[in-house]
Amino acid sequence: MEVIHPRNLEEALAAVADGMTPLAGGTDLMVEVNYGQKRPERVVALRRLADIADFSPTRIGAGVRWRRIEKEGPRALAQAARTVGSPQIRNAGTIGGNVATASPAGDGLPFLAAVDASIELTSGSGSRLLRWDEYFVGVKQTARRSDELVTAIVLADDLPERQEFAKVGVRNAMVISTVCCVVTRREDGATTVALGSVAPTPMRARRAEEMISSERSPSEATLAEFARLVSEEVAPITDHRSTEEYRRHAAGVLARRLLERCLRREAA
């Protein structure tokens, strides 16, 4: 067993290039270790690496923990952070770990899709920025090379004024999403709808977005059509947490509810 605590990013990158397993909060990795699914013998521990814990309106370091995002993050991401696990999990878990794991149910991911965020990947030979839809390629599959670390989430400097997150699960606390969703809306009506747990990667409901973006004050019938389009566009599966049918239904209901919250804030 070998564990190193790098003093700076260069040391961390050298360790990753040398094949060491990155460890941030451990809330995904240690579950696998405890289940005997993984047995990393050489670990680079990032918990105290300040170089990847920077935080600004346009850049959130990979090492930033949910506890901080809950208080300081952009509205919908903060709302998502507040639903992650429990206080214990939010004190340890990082956004970088969420992005690196790339679970279809990752609660931080729909926000990235909704605002077209990019993921910064860094190796010894430099950094590259991948847009979310280039980065997430499948269930727990990403475009990250094994010699790279996720170093930050990069956001545009003009995030939409209205943004809302919510998730559906079997209870309130400590629950993995059955469906999670972010809706954003700008002053001019431009709307984005991003969903998690309903496809191998986070996804956008583009047809629903297009339809609703030109509606300034949608009628009841338009809202119902919006929900129907979202339900139609998602591509969920049936698994131990839910059924395809329920997820489709819940996706439409959730997206409509969040859109209505955006509209109410617009009116207020």
Binding site: M1, E2, G25, T27, M30, V31, R47, G85, A173, M174
Partner: protein, 154 residues
């Protein structure tokens, strides 16, 4: 490898030859049996400790990542022979059934009251959302902390 950290104010060392959790090391090598092992997946909170002052599940901390850190377990929340106000509150109300979850609740509540001496009932429930009581004795547990917070008890 040999790791060293401070456990309840004392320097300790342990030997880790595989990716053991901090919880394993506390119980198997350091005789700190207060932190309980129930799920090993972060779901129940019975292994709650403060790692560098932050409430975490010790079953999800790689032991070697505690190197050089300060770890506080239930054994260390009050001086030897004394009780923390959180423990006294649980005693007063009888907020213990089998007691398995109690150390985890104590550590989580110590963390809560350190940050917020007068939490609302809602804040108490949210702060304890990561702790499961398999005897389902939540009523008395919440009441104990409402009383400590100086709230009206229902």
């Amino acid at each position: 490898m040999i790791i060293g950290f401070r456990l309840n104010g004392q320097e300790v060392t342990a030997r880790v030859d595989h990716p053991a959790s901090l919880l394993d090391v506390l119980r198997d090598q350091l005789g700190a049996y207060g932190s309980k092992n129930a799920c090993e997946q972060g779901e129940c909170g019975s292994c709650s400790v403060l790692l560098d002052g932050e409430l975490v599940c010790s079953c999800l901390v790689l032991a070697a990542d505690a190197e050089g850190s300060e770890v506080t377990t239930v054994e260390g929340v009050a001086p030897e022979g004394e009780l923390h106000p959180v423990q006294e509150a649980m005693n007063r109300v009888g907020a213990v059934q089998c007691g398995f979850c109690t150390p985890g609740f104590v550590v989580a509540a110590v963390d809560l009251f350190e940050r917020n001496p007068h939490p609302t009932s809602r804040e108490i429930k949210e702060a304890l959302a990561g702790n499961i009581c398999r005897c389902t004795g939540y009523g008395a547990i919440i009441r104990a902390f409402e009383e400590l917070a100086g709230r009206e008890v229902r």
